[in-house]
Every structure is written in C-alpha cells, then in structure tokens.
C-alpha cells in the first residue's frame, strides 16, 4: 500500500515554498504599479503646480511694482518678507521666494519652514521673472518649486495601500489553504478508494511524485487519516469564522470615537454620564451581553441545531450593525450594540460547537486551533480595512459595510459548512457548582485574578478603547488608527504560535512566561503613558501589549489543566476552561469602564495606571507561584 498517510507536521507551512514566490510576485507587482502611478500623477500635476507658482510670482511681482510706483526702492521695501511668508503659507509646494537686485544681490529671501523641516530635502525647480519699473528691470523675483510635491502628497497613501495589501494577502492565504487543502482532500478521498486498483507502476510514479513534491518543497500531501480528511471541513469553518469576525473587527478603530461623538451630541437620558465614560460603558455592555448569551446559549444551540444558531447569530449581529449605523441617539446605539453582541455570542457558540462536533477528543486541539486561527486572522486584518473604510466613506457607511461582510458569513456557512449533530453532553453540574469547584483551587484563582483578568482589562482598555479614541481625538486618520490597532493582531499572529511551542517544550516555565508577558505588556503601556500618548507612544504600547500577550495567552491556557488536575477530573477539561474563559471576560467588561473612569482624569494617567496595575498583578502572580513551588519543595524534602 502506498504510504499516503505520512503527515507533515504542519500542512500550511508546507505550502510556503509555493506561496512565498507567488506572494513576492504580488508584492513586486503592487510596488511597481504604485511607482508607475506616482510617476503618471506627478507628470499630470507638475504643470498645474508650475502654473500656480507662476501665478503667485506674478501676483507678488505686481505688488512689488506697485510699491516701486509709490516710491519704494529695493533698499527700503517694507513688508516684502511678510508678503513672502503669507504666500509660502498658502502654497505648500513653494520652497522659497527670493527678491534680488538686477546684479544678483539678494534683497529678501524667505524659505518655507514646512518643507525645510522634512528629513529629505526637496528637489527644486527654479522659476524667475523680472520686476519692472517704467519698462526697466528693477529687480528679479525667483521662486523655487518643490518638484517632488505631488509625489510627497500621494505617498501619504502608501501606508493605506500597505494595509490593503496585508489584508488581501492574509485573505488570499486563507482561501488558498482552503482551496488547495480542500482540493487535495477530495483528490485523496478518491485516491484512497482507488489505491488498491493502482498498478505497481502507478504506485511507483505516485511515490516519485510525492517525493519530488517534498524535496521541492511544494505542497505536501495531507494524510488519509480521519484527521486529515476532516481538514477541509475545519478549513471551511475557519473561512466562515474569519468572514464573520472580520465584520466586528472592522469596527475597532472607529467605534469608540463614533460612540463618543454621539455621547456628546445626543446623550439622551444619559446626559449625566461623562462622554468618555459612556464609551467605556458601551464597550463593557457588549462583553456583558456576549458573556450572558454564551453562558446560557450553549445548550439552546444544541437544541435548535448549530446551523440555525449560527444563521440567527449572523442575522442579529448584522442587523445590530445596520441599526448602529442608522440610529442617531446614544440610547438606540447602545441597544443596537446589545443586539450585535447577542448575535456575536450565538455565532461564537455555534462555531465553537461545530468545531467540537466535527472533532473527537484526540483532534479537538486541531479543531479549536482552526477556530482561533479564523478569529486571529480577522483581528489582524479587520482594524486596518475598517479604519480605511471609515476614513474614506465615513463611520456609518463603514458600519453597513461591516454588516455586509459579517452577513456574507451566513451565505458561506450555508454553502460550505457540514450539518453536524451536536454531541450529547450529559446534564450534570450547574454553572455555580462548577464555579465554586474551580475557585476552590487557589492557584487557579490566582491565575484568573492576577493574570487572566488583568490581561483582558489591559487589552480592552488600551487596544479597543483608549488608543482608537485618543488617536482619533488627536486628529489621526481612522486608517492610521486601524493600522495601529492591527499591530496587536500582527504580534499575536507572529509570536503567539512560537510562544505556544516554547511553552509545550518547557511546561515548568509556563507560569514564568505568563508573568513575563504580563510585565512586558504592563511596562510597555505604563512607559507609553509616562511619555505622553501620541501616535508613536500608542504604537509602542500596542506593540508591547501584543508581544506580551503573545507570550502569555497560550501558556495561560496551557496552565489551566496543569494546575487543575482534580477539577478537570471532576468537571472535565472543557468545563474548567469554560469557567476560566467566563471569569476572564470579567476583565473585558471591567476594563473599558475602568479606562473610562481613569481617562476622565487624563489619558496618560489611564495608560500609566492600567500598565502599572497589570505589571504589579504579574509580579504578584509570580510571588504566588514561587510560594507554591517553595512549599512543594519543602514538602518533598
């Protein structure tokens, strides 16, 4: 029998050798196109700029000539410098204006400070005209035009386009994984059923083809194990999850500012609440509704079916977003956000349920990693594209676009997702009993209170609330805010997997990784607050937070079964993890309200206080772990 079952460790990375040159080709094409476009734009704009500079020169010349007529001379020409300054202020593409005597002696010269402050000196194009008095040349007016002005203006789009490229490449990568793995899966299904009919010569050729693929680093074949045949279905689930969550992630960069502006313009019965605090309450409300739906919706989803729950969730979520877009009072927007949260919670439950139904205990981690992969990919690309959409089309239209994106998940679900039968879960313990059981473990309580909750507080306060709101208030474009928020997802995606692998290898250091992550994220945010929040310090805070949480999130989850042996035996791994998740969400609900309360004093204080609090909580958790380890070593001695 041909060995089709030899599975590469990670099938996605096996696609890289094919994908990297293709992606590179795409990037080169985009960059070349942009340069070509900038050249064409410059070619078209430059004559206009020159013509405008000529107009400015003629206007100045006329004023100088009038002054000459009134008796002024080059030596006693007053106000020329102010006139030149005014002209430079109104015409950013002019580098300098000089008035000189016919012999070339400079009388007045003024340079544009905005251009001279830039790091790269502009390429000048000089234009000159005589100033006459009674038909004789009385002076020479010279204007230097910044010939790179058009390029400079259009280059400000570069980051927007890089954001678009990143979004598109991530989406393409996800789709390719689905198509190629799905394609192989189908092919292998047919191959497996026919394997016995292959002649020995064909088997030899197949082996050679596989060997050639592996040695050339082309896509490796998945195995025919049930886990591999399951892969296309899980990938389909990931596509659905990605598309749905992309809609909500698109709102991250502009929703806080959108709610803030409503809280100022039309607070309704909530006039007494501070507008910044109101944003925090709105964000917290979302998490509270989401948690409640998740808490009580699980069994209901098993009762009515995963697909129905998912479709209902998508419908509610999209309707909520559209309602948010059309409502113009804060109260209605809060209700609409509650509707979106309910839908979000239902989709979360249903999608998680499909992953559980499709997998067995042995391959559940693969299923859940597909689920998390979809959410993370959305977190990576959503903010950037959402900010860009809001920047160009306005937040209300961006909300409708996000609703359409989330709504598309329903169509994809109908087309791609298999109908699953919910696994029967025994009717056993109540949530309260589970909660009591988990919290009776003091190490677990410490992990939740000192690590998991603070991690959610800092994430929801800084990344999803204060950074978008503060940067928008400081006049940053929503596209720029989206790119900054995206940095968090980028670090999580880049370093999360690595941290998980390191944690798997050295399980005794899991707690240390959790502590290091908390301290890193806390210190990063604290230092940013201490320096004062602007674009770059916000980027520093988010990068430190992303890196810190990439280090600590996976080890945190891995620690749960390590420190809850007894509880896992009694209530099961899923239940203990569920309680951990539920309590962790408390942080998500507390964070924005706490952030809002602190931000009423000062944003910098809010950053510093939250960062310091998280770093101290991390140190406290380290203390608890050290105490536990010391007492254990005493007992064993």
């Amino acid at each position: 029998m041909i060995d089709l079952t030899r599975r590469t460790d990670a099938q996605q990375p096996a696609m890289w050798p094919l994908l990297i040159p293709s992606m590179l080709l795409l990037v080169i094409t985009v960059v070349s196109f942009l340069y070509f476009t900038l050249d064409r734009f410059e070619e078209r704009l430059m004559p206009e700029i020159q013509s405008k500079a000529d107009g400015v020169m003629q206007a100045i010349s006329l004023r100088v000539e009038r002054a000459f007529v009134l008796g002024a001379t080059l030596r006693n020409l007053r106000g020329a410098e102010d006139t030149f300054h005014d002209a430079l202020e109104a015409n950013p593409e002019i580098v300098s204006i000089t008035l000189s005597a016919p012999d070339g002696t400079i009388v007045t010269a003024v340079a544009n400070p905005r251009i001279h402050d830039t790091a790269t000196p502009p390429v000048h194009e000089t234009r000159a005209m005589p100033v006459t008095l009674a038909g004789k040349v009385a002076g020479i007016l010279t204007i230097e035009v910044d010939s790179g002005y058009a390029r400079r203006v259009l280059a400000s789009l570069m980051w927007d386009i890089v954001g678009v490229l990143l979004v598109v490449l991530t989406t393409a990568f996800g789709l390719l994984t689905f198509i190629i793995q799905g394609g192989f899966g189908t092919g292998i299904d047919s191959l497996r059923s026919l394997a016995e009919r292959l002649t020995s010569e064909e088997r030899r050729r197949l082996k050679a083809a596989l060997a050639a693929l592996r040695s050339a680093g082309r896509p490796a074949l998945p195995s025919t194990s049930p886990e591999t045949l399951l892969l296309p279905r899980l990938l389909a689930l990931r596509v659905v999850i990605f598309v749905f969550f992309l809609g909500e992630e698109m709102l991250r960069p502009f929703l806080p500012e959108f709610i803030h502006s409503l809280a100022i313009s039309d607070p309704g019965p909530l006039t007494a609440v501070d507008s910044r605090m109101m944003v925090g309450i709105a964000l917290s409300l979302f998490i509270v509704v989401l948690s409640l739906v998740q808490l009580w919706g699980g069994r209901w989803s098993e009762h009515i079916g995963r697909m129905r729950t998912l479709l209902l969730g998508v419908l509610l979520s999209s309707l909520g977003m559209i309602a948010t877009a059309i409502c113009d009072t804060l109260t209605l927007v809060l209700l609409a956000r509650g509707l979106t949260a309910a839908g979000y919670g239902l989709v979360f439950i249903a999608a998680q349920g499909v992953a559980i139904d499709l997998t067995s205990r042995d391959n559940r981690t693969t299923g859940m990693s597909m689920f998390v992969g979809g959410v993370m990919a959305a977190l990576l690309v959503g903010p950037s594209i959402g900010g860009l959409t809001a920047d160009h089309l306005g937040p209300r239209i961006a909300l409708v676009v996000a609703a359409a994106v989330s709504g598309a998940a329903a169509i994809l679900a109908i087309l791609l997702l298999p109908r699953t039968t919910p696994l029967h879960r025994p009717e056993n313990r109540s949530v309260l009993a589970d909660l009591q059981l988990v919290l009776s473990n003091h190490r677990m309580t410490a992990l939740i209170a000192l690590s998991a909750i603070p991690a959610k507080i800092i994430l929801n306060t800084i990344v999803f609330y204060l950074v978008p709101l503060t940067l928008a208030e400081r006049g940053e474009s929503l596209a720029a805010v989206g790119r900054i928020v995206m940095v968090y997802g980028l670090f999580m995606v880049l370093f999360g997997g690595l941290a998980a692998r390191v944690g798997d290898r050295s399980r005794e250091n899991l707690a240390l990784m959790v502590v290091a992550g908390a301290i890193l994220s806390g210190l990063g945010v604290m230092v940013a607050g201490w320096l004062g929040i602007d674009f770059w310090t916000a980027a520093l805070a988010i990068a430190a937070l992303g890196l810190g949480q990439a280090m600590s999130v996976a080890p945190q989850l891995a620690l749960v079964p390590e420190i809850c042996h007894r509880e896992v035996e009694i209530a099961g791994h899923a239940t203990v993890l569920g309680i951990f998740r539920l309590l962790e969400r408390l942080g998500g609900a507390i964070g924005p309200v706490l952030g809002g309360w602190l931000a009423m004093r000062s944003t910098d204080i809010a950053f510093t206080a939250v960062g310091l609090g998280v770093a101290l909580a991390g140190l406290a958790y380290l203390g608890v772990e050290l105490l536990v380890r010391t007492s254990r070593s005493h007992i064993s001695n």
Binding site: V30, F33, F36, F41, L45, L175, R197, P219, H392
Partner: protein
C-alpha cells in the same frame, strides 16, 4: 477546474483587489490634490485682478473705466484654455464689465451672502472664482469673477484613470498567467495521477 488554475484565480483576485483599491484611493487623492492646486491657481489669478482693480479704484477710476483690464484678460484667455470669461461687478452684484463667455453687461450676479472675500462655486464643468474688493475702511466696492471651464481637467483625470485601470488589468492578467505556469509545474504530477485514478474509477472493474 485544475488546482493550478484555482491557485492563479485566487492570487489574481487578490492582486485585482489590492490594485483596484490602491488605484481608487490614489485616484481620490489625485483628484483632491488636482482640484486644490487648480482652485488655488485660479484664486491666485483672480486675486491678481482684484489687486489691479483695487489700485485703479484707489486712484479714482470708476468700474466702467478699466479698459486696460479687458486687454489683460483677453491676453490671459489666449494663453489659458480653461479661462473662458471675466466679470467685474459693483457692490450690488450688477455686472459693469464682462469679457468672454458666460457674463453679459447689465446682468446681475448674486454675491455671497456672508461677504467672504474669496469664493469658488462649481456647477457641471464650470467653476466661478470670485474676489471681493473693499476700501481701506472695509466698505465693499466691487467684485471680480472669473469663469473657468473644467472639461479639460475632468477629461485629463478620466483619461488617466482609464489608462491606469488598463494597466491594472494587464498586470493582473500577466501575473495570473505566470501563476498558472508556476502552479501547473508544481501540481502537474499529482493532478495527472488523480486524473488517471478518476478515469479508472469510471471504468467497470
């Protein structure tokens, strides 16, 4: 549909989305920049004439006596295809002198209600740029209105947009073709075997 074609299709769509969005963003920025520069240039020309009128009024000329201005405008119109007309109006908006198209002496023009010293209005492919002329005591004396045709600017921007969309289409097609070749090379051995296996399945055993 072969794997290589599906691969190329996804990558081609990704490229089309990126280039399409990038071009749309760039064209929006280009249009804004072009309009800003053009409006500023036109305002500079209008300001120059407003300055000339201010000087003339200062030395005691009346609004109907600016004959030199007519010559200047006509010279400028000969050099600038976009400038199609000029009107000099009094404080009530009555046209005292008109050159070129769009204005007739004796007509009345509605000056901005808020008396802002400069303004620009655009309707269809015509832009009017205006400047008000005040005395040194702040009393409104006159207004200069220049009429510009935008058809050249619009056509040029549209032509550029069309040309760049053509470049996008060509780039996407070329990249897709390249990827079909790369994908075909990568997937060929496996696809051949899958095809053979499928054919065998169709045959009775």
């Amino acid at each position: 549909m072969t794997l290589s074609f599906r691969f190329a299709l996804v990558m081609g769509l990704a490229l089309l989305a990126t280039l399409g969005l990038a071009l749309m963003l760039a064209m929006t920025k280009f249009d804004t920049t072009l309009h800003t520069i053009t409006d500023d240039r036109r305002q500079t020309v209008t300001a120059r004439f407003a300055g000339e009128i201010e000087s003339g009024l200062d030395i005691g000329l009346t609004l109907t006596e600016f004959n030199g201005l007519r010559g200047n405008i006509e010279r400028l119109m000969a050099n600038d295809d976009e400038l199609t007309g000029m009107a000099l109006v009094d404080a009530d908006g009555a046209i005292k002198m008109a050159v070129g198209q769009g204005f007739a002496a004796g007509d009345r023009f509605t000056l901005p209600a808020d008396r802002q010293s400069r303004w620009t209005t655009t309707a269809d492919d015509i832009t009017l740029t205006g400047r008000l002329v005040y005395t040194s005591y702040g009393q409104l004396r006159a207004g200069v209105i220049l009429r510009f045709s935008n058809s050249g600017t619009l056509r040029s921007a549209t032509d550029l947009g069309r040309f760049l969309w053509l470049v996008v289409t060509l780039s996407v097609s070329l990249v897709m073709l390249t990827l079909i070749l790369i994908g075909g090379y990568a997937f060929r051995p496996l696809e051949a075997l899958l095809l053979q296996a499928s054919k065998r399945q169709e045959r009775p055993s």
